[in-house]
Amino acid sequence: MNSTRPAPPPPVALVNPANRNEGAPRGGDEQVLRLEDVSIFYGDYQAVRGVDMTIGRHQITALIGPSGCGKSTVLRSLNRMNDLIPGARVAGRVTFHGEDLYARDVDPIEVRRRIGMVFQKPNPFPKSIYDNIAYGPRVTGMKVSNMDELVEKALRRAALWDEVKDKLKQSALALSGGQQQRLCIARTIAVSPEVILMDEPCSALDPIATSKIEDLMFELSRDYTIVIVTHNMQQAARVSHRTAFFTAEVDEQGERHGRLIEYDTTNKIFTNPAQKRTEEYITGRFG
Amino acid sequence: SDNNDGGTGTGVAAELSGDVKVDGSSTVGPLSKAAAELFADEQAKVNVTVGISGTGGGFKKFCNGETDISDASRPIKDTEKAECEKNGVKFVELIVANDALSVVVSKDNSFADCLTVPQLKAIWEPGSKVNNWNQVDPKFPNEPLKLFGAGTDSGTFDYWTAAINGKEKAHRTDYTPTEDDNVTVQGVSGSKGGLGYFGFTYYEENADKLKLVKVDGGGGCVEPSVATAQDGSYKPLSRPLFIYVSDKGIAKEQVKGFVDFYIASIDEVVKEAKYVPLTAAQKETLKSEFATLTKG
């Protein structure tokens, strides 16, 4: 036999985080969201166990980790989207400006108005572009003196205005994927949230559309607090100020639970992670 | 499948089998059904089916050779005879019971006790504009008429139109036509202005819900009853009821057995179906008529 026997797989070099978000961002010191010993259950299954982290104002916080480690689950707990899943339950405290998001008298509708969300696959409503933007202000009963102006502003902020200004009455479904995703961001902006959660917003997009969204995120971080889940480590390295690395651990009963392994500035995570598992993940040796 | 493996001839003892197809009048249907039920006690292997296609429908099938026996609440018409002849169907006509077409109103109707034939005609003739009892007779109160009559495909319809309106099928159209006695009974009993007509048996069975109206056929008001039907004094609405038996049918053992039984037990059959029984004379004719067919 003349096939050679395997050598161990090659390590992938560390990402060099020439991060554009280097340096302390404005307002990053003020805490907007805070998770204290948060565990999240689907029925009896504990999908995420004991997460502690704080999310700073006007920062971009990235959540990374292998598939199934609970990134989306954590993200959705931040604006009570988990309420919509029968059997989903959050233990521990999630606070928003110090208020417990899961207190009895908290109105989840109001929470979601203040903490918007953008999804993995662009999900514009099958309505006109205009109506997509106007939807949020209408349902939340915002007093809007001039809806046209609001729509224009939102589209401008999402860097979409020039591309769509002549076809506002056309169906949003006719837009390209990248445009649709920016429309979804514009739609979120239109209700003036404080925080925007994004769950792999670029994973369905091509590289050019992705880079547009990344630029947009960076722009938006001046005024909004952004939390982004991403599979793409380079993206986390490129856009975020802080990065949280999650992974799934198997407990004594053989059940897998998502855990927060390390949370630090993006620079630190990508250049000098404190945890071995973080390093292994970053370098592509597992996941 | 008309196998007649059984019966080699006389008597009740021989076991028969095969089908007997009866169809036709809904008025006569109960008689044939009763006969079939009673017959089944003796000849369990003979399958008697009784269809309710109305007298006209029954004759159509009968003259096509599709049935053995046709129930009829009126005599066969010349056109129908011709059809039978064309198809080579010979038959005998047997009168099996008497009927008195009964005019009924609601129990709440206290004013109409007797109606004359002209009054009935005014109500039921084609294009009639009589829609209120006070148009029938000014003494009657202001009460809208609700009319229930025979379905267009029945012998009753033919008989009624001929007897009252003077022409077969000549009938006003804006009434509730039905083959379905329940509709007439419930419909008439349920509304004060209700008026309907059907076979005497149906009245008898529902005498607690309906009021019978006397009919004045020119000789004064007569109430339909067994007696007035038998002696024909209930004019013009007393009528005989028929069955027609084809020669091809009678050639089958099981059909002959059934008709034999029908005739032999005619009193019981009529009683079971609650019809007006035959007079002694009618019974004699029945037997002799049938005898001619079976011989010839």
Partner: protein, 311 residues
């Protein structure tokens, strides 16, 4: 032969014929052709007598005369009374079934927990599976007395009437409408609901502004299909609305025949084959067939359109 030792290259050219495969395929095609043959059979069995009918009765009379009295001494062949009877029943059924059906569908798709839905949907299906004779009996002997009792005043509904038949039929088609509408709503991608919730919508807003508009053509298809079922339903009207065919029924509290109940009623009675009377069954049958065909085509088209939106 053992695994692990691949055979040396032999040709992949056709060594084996497989005649069995062909025969089976032929049989399957034959089975599929039965449904085509059925359609052809329906068209043929309707067409020839109908053509014969219109050889004797003018189409103009058929669609304009307001009397349907083919079996009386004065014969008139206007299908309008049957048509109006049919439309009354269908209209009443629709007015009842659409709100109830769509309301139930929204509840099942947006509000009910999965367990509740699993419980309720089969019960709805049971409702859809009840034979129509039973609905007819129920309408005539249970609903109608109640209806007459509750009737405010004036002309009370007749013993058989279009209204009660329409109500019973409405109940009968609720499950059809509900189940198809629910399918359409469930097919609206979950991501749209999430998008709406994330924009601070309430449940009702999600249901009425996102799900219902999103499923609209599917919902309309459900309604059209329900209407088509009402149009073609026979036993309820035969039992509960009666067979009165003369004159246009202007009021739904009158009894009147529909196209279907005329056919059923006439076919029970004496309709001498080859007579014009017998042909009326086919002429009315053709009319009915054309109506339901148009509605079905519309509903199929709507469903397809709906599917296109979300692929």
């Amino acid at each position: 032969m053992t695994p692990g030792a691949p055979v040396p290259a032999a040709s992949v050219r056709r060594g084996r014929r497989r005649p069995g495969e062909r025969i089976i395929e032929g049989f399957l095609v034959l089975a599929a052709v039965v449904s085509i043959a059925t359609t052809i059979g329906i068209v043929v069995s309707l067409l020839f007598p109908t053509v014969e009918f219109f050889g004797e009765v003018s189409i103009v009379e058929f669609i304009t005369s307001s009397q349907w009295t083919p079996l009386f001494s004065i014969k008139q062949y206007g299908v309008l009374p049957l048509l109006v009877g049919t439309l009354w029943v269908t209209l009443i059924a629709t007015v009842i079934a659409v709100p109830l059906g769509i309301g139930a569908a929204i509840y099942l798709s947006e509000y009910a927990r999965p367990g509740t839905r699993r419980l309720l949907k089969p019960i709805l299906e049971v409702l859809a599976g009840i034979p129509t004779v039973v609905y007819g009996f129920f309408a005539l002997t249970f609903l109608n007395p109640i209806l007459i009792d509750l009737w405010p005043s004036g002309d009370k509904p007749e013993f058989q009437n279009l209204l009660v038949a329409g109500i019973a039929m409405g109940i009968m088609i609720v499950p059809t409408v509900a189940s198809l509408a629910e399918d359409a709503m469930s097919a609206v991608p979950h991501s749209l609901r999430e998008g709406a919730y994330a924009l601070a919508s309430t449940k009702m807003q999600v249901a009425t502004r996102v799900v219902v508009p999103g499923a609209l053509s599917g919902i309309v298809a459900a309604i059209v299909l329900g209407v088509s079922r009402a149009l073609g339903e026979t036993m309820i009207v035969t039992i509960a609305a009666g067979l009165k065919t003369a004159g246009i029924p202007w009021s739904p509290i009158d009894g009147a025949a529909t196209m279907t109940s005329y056919i059923a009623g006439a076919a029970q009675g004496d309709l001498p084959v080859d007579s014009l009377d017998y042909l009326t069954i086919f002429a009315v049958g053709t009319t009915l067939f054309l109506f339901t065909f148009a509605l079905n085509a519309l509903s199929i088209r709507l469903v397809r359109k709906f599917r296109e939106v979300y692929e």
